[in-house]
Amino acid sequence: MAVVAGSSGSLRRYALTRLALVIPMVLILLTLVFVLMRVAPGDPIQSALGGKLSPAQLAEKRHAAGFDKPMIVQYLEYLRQVVTFNFGRAITDNQPITTILRVNGAATLELTVSALVVALVIGVPVGLRAGRLRDSAFDGFGRLFGIVTYAAPVFFVGLIFQLVFSKWLDWLPNSGQLNPIDQAELPSHTHLSVIDAIWDRNGAAFSDSVKHLIMPALTLGLLLCGVVIRLIRTNIIQTLKGDYVEAARARGVPERRVVLRHAFRNALVPVVTVMGLQVALLLSGAVLTEETFNWPGIGNRLVSYLSNRDYVAVQGIITVFALAVVIISVLIDFVNAAIDPRVRY
């Protein structure tokens, strides 16, 4: 603790520098989203509602949404929306985007966090063992497992799970987040169905929500699992070559302790960093998983809004995805800086 206090000055400076670097990154991402959504042929109102309303009504809607203003004004307006976190309402179903983000975002969070847990619980031990026993049969198996889980598209794995566990064995529900009865009865405190069920001490809803969560979490978890195995394996191989590992062995430290405390700890920094970069993979996988299991997450909504050409909703959701990636990568860097003093500059 004393060490941390002593170095807090440089950690704070690191944090500030890192945050300052975030601003141009966020601006570029936001501009990218804005430009992408504006190069689309036709304007948003026309694409979403064209044919359903009269030209006069369309013009009125367009005016109300500000799409008749000059581009630069629209851009500044968009930036203001991001800063105030108020993205207006979806064109097609008139829902406030912020509500969609909160309600469906919670479902996505539930899915991604549990998938991450699955990936770490399977991936870390397998990766560790494979790296330690390099070129053994176990290593070969571990690598192959990593490759195959990566090679199988999430939706294909999901479909196979549905076929086996839902259709053939009838152990788990096919799709969705809760069965309709629990859905109706369970009040939403957090929009995380498992947490809500615990909150209300509703045993039936809890087991139902867990049952619904198992297949999606496993599906997305397996996708990440391959990345985890590969990462841990490569880094363990590298750190095991270190002189300090040799020194620890020479001092008679048990092999288990050498691997777990000396090698694994040092392998952790690159692992954390690269896992941070996998947020993009995680979110992309989540979109596909949600679509497969009809999970009411944010990706599921995004796909339906895209199909309905609701640019306002799409823009809001994509902006939040981009912001999430940046925020998580900054958090990861802070965690790394806290673990490893060498990271700070």
Partner: protein, 339 residues
């Protein structure tokens, strides 16, 4: 050193001495091949199994019209409509799907679509990413800074979303065929080549040989084309293979979400899986297991090649550097042990 290696890769006439100038051109490829041949154990196994799988799919793709029993969207034969969702067997080895199309033909034509898209996407990303990375790394300055920021932003973006949005935007102007999918996928992979190439250029441009070239008055174009290019593309084969694998998954993902290649344009595995979701609920496994299995196989094949190449080329992972030394046995045993 050079003479036997050139002869080996050229297919072997030792009688005719190969002129040395060609060695310069063949250098990198030759070196790559030499390293590949040195692969041992698991890496070798990875490389060859992966290559075999990939070759099978390439053959399927090239000769699809000859191999596939029916067309990719053919649902009648001789005026008779195929049965709908028929189980595998009889004249339809893999069964038929909800559109009465033969699943085996869809799988075979799907490999053609996948390979077309992947080759185009990898080519496009190389053509854009490598020059941009070289220019950015060599010149530096504000251009470099701006490009790095843009590429980092693209890299950080959830890749599938980026592809979806691009494919969605191109749907109206370019259509929803192979080209749209390839462009959408290209956008995702450009930043990777950019980063790797820029990084290598940054370190390579300080090397004495580049400085010497500059001192001799070589123009930037010459330096980049003749001196830097072959030195900075060492890691590109690994990335390209792994990206090819990833591109197939992205293509399938696009198809699955309904933003990929439409069934009227070409057969696409991801789209078949999307249609298969409903079939799975009814227990009709063949409409999705076969296309899905094809994806898994091809991606595995390409990944194995990439992993194997990485094992062989990546100095951190490589166990054996240089040629395996074969010591003469027995004769020099005594003195060797003392040394």
């Amino acid at each position: 050193m050079t003479a036997p290696s050139v002869a080996e890769s050229g297919g072997g006439s030792i009688l005719e001495p190969t002129p040395t100038p060609s060695d310069r051109r063949q250098g990198p490829i030759n070196r790559l091949w030499q390293q590949v041949k040195q692969a041992q154990g698991f890496s070798k196994w990875l490389l060859w199994v992966g290559a075999a799988i990939t070759v099978i799919f390439v053959v399927l793709a090239v000769f699809a019209p000859l191999i596939a029993p029916y067309g990719f969207d053919q649902y009648t034969s001789g005026g008779v409509r195929f049965p709908k969702q028929a189980a595998p067997g009889g004249s339809h080895w893999f069964g038929t799907n909800v559109r009465s199309v033969d699943v085996l033909s869809v799988v075979i034509y799907g490999s053609r679509t996948a390979i077309e898209v992947v080759v185009l996407a990898v080519l496009f990303s190389l053509l854009v990413g490598v020059p941009l990375g070289m220019i950015s790394g060599y010149y530096g300055g504000w251009l470099d800074r701006v490009l790095v920021l843009i590429m980092d932003a693209l890299f950080a973006f959830p890749y599938l979303l980026l592809a979806i949005v691009i494919a969605f935007l191109l749907q109206d102007s370019v259509g929803s065929g192979v080209l749209t999918a390839a462009i959408a996928i290209t956008v995702i992979y450009v930043p990777q080549y950019f980063r790797v190439v820029r990084g290598s250029v940054l370190s390579a441009r300080e090397e004495p040989y580049v400085e010497a070239a500059r001192a001799l008055g070589a123009r930037p174009r010459t330096i980049m084309g003749r001196y830097l290019f072959f030195n900075v593309i060492q890691s590109v084969p690994v990335i390209a293979t792994l990206n090819a694998a990833d591109a197939i998954l992205t293509l399938a993902g696009l198809g699955f979400l309904g933003f990929g290649i439409q069934p009227t344009q070409a057969a696409e595995w991801g789209y078949e899986l999307q249609r298969g979701v409903a079939d799975m609920g009814a227990g009709l496994w063949w409409t999705s297991i076969f296309p899905g299995g094809a994806i898994v196989l091809l991606v595995t094949g390409l990944t194995l090649v990439g992993e194997g190449l990485n094992d062989v080329l990546n100095p951190v992972l490589r166990k054996r550097s240089g040629r395996p030394v074969v010591l003469p046995r027995r004769i020099t045993r005594g003195p060797e042990e003392n040394a």
